[in-house]
Amino acid sequence: MFIRPSAAIAAAVLLSSPVLPQGARAADKLTDPQIAHIAYTAGVIDINAAKQAMKKAKNKDVKAFAEDMVRDHEAVNKQALALVKKLNVTPEDNDTSKALSKQASEKLAELDKLSGAAFDKAYVANEVAYHKTVNGALETQLIPSASNAELKNLLQTGLKIFQGHEQHAEHVAAELK
């Protein structure tokens, strides 16, 4: 695999930035407005990647996968917006969200240069890596840090559906070989 997985960098960002340092954990604990922002941003990133794929992908399974990503991530983000509105919470931008967005726009630019089967392969490989990263972050950080029960619940629903995406992406990747 010569594709540089930007997700690995995103993982490093998520795992090493304000979030995990063990000693300072309590002080650095993410707040609900920050968690909501990170989760929403992660969804938008995958929607943008999928929209690019819907235009560029050649393989029909890859196209269908991209459509699935738009449908599901938009559904989750719609729920997230409804929830923050209900809770009267304003999502708060933060370093993790910023790092994720920066990585994502670099990845979009990188993938934009590819076409045909090379694009399909690179997109799906990144989807596998990206969902792994986001799921890891949800499991180990975002869900445990969330205070509000409804937010926690929505993140858990998100984790469940994104784990399905990860497996779906792995399956599509295997079929492309």
Partner: protein, 106 residues
Amino acid sequence: MMPGRLASTALAVVFLTMVVPADAATIEITMENLVISPAEISAKVGDTIQWVNKDVFAHTATARNGDFDVTLPPNKSAASVLKKAGTIEYYCRYHPNMKAMLKVEP
């Protein structure tokens, strides 16, 4: 009056036997939290499956053998009548992890 009543009774009998077999049932299959339940169920030809999607995600009930392909928008339900006997594996095209089995008896 009698002949009329007889005729309508006869008509009713005809309709009942044609349209609704005496033992036709409605069976509910639910999709909730990305799980199809019950995961395995038996039904008979002529029974109606009431598909209920309780998720905020769109799902499908898609038979691997092509017998049916029902699309279920978020929080919507749909009905389909079983026309053929067989053991049908089906899944959600959008979430292929969602799988279940329907045994349709003649």
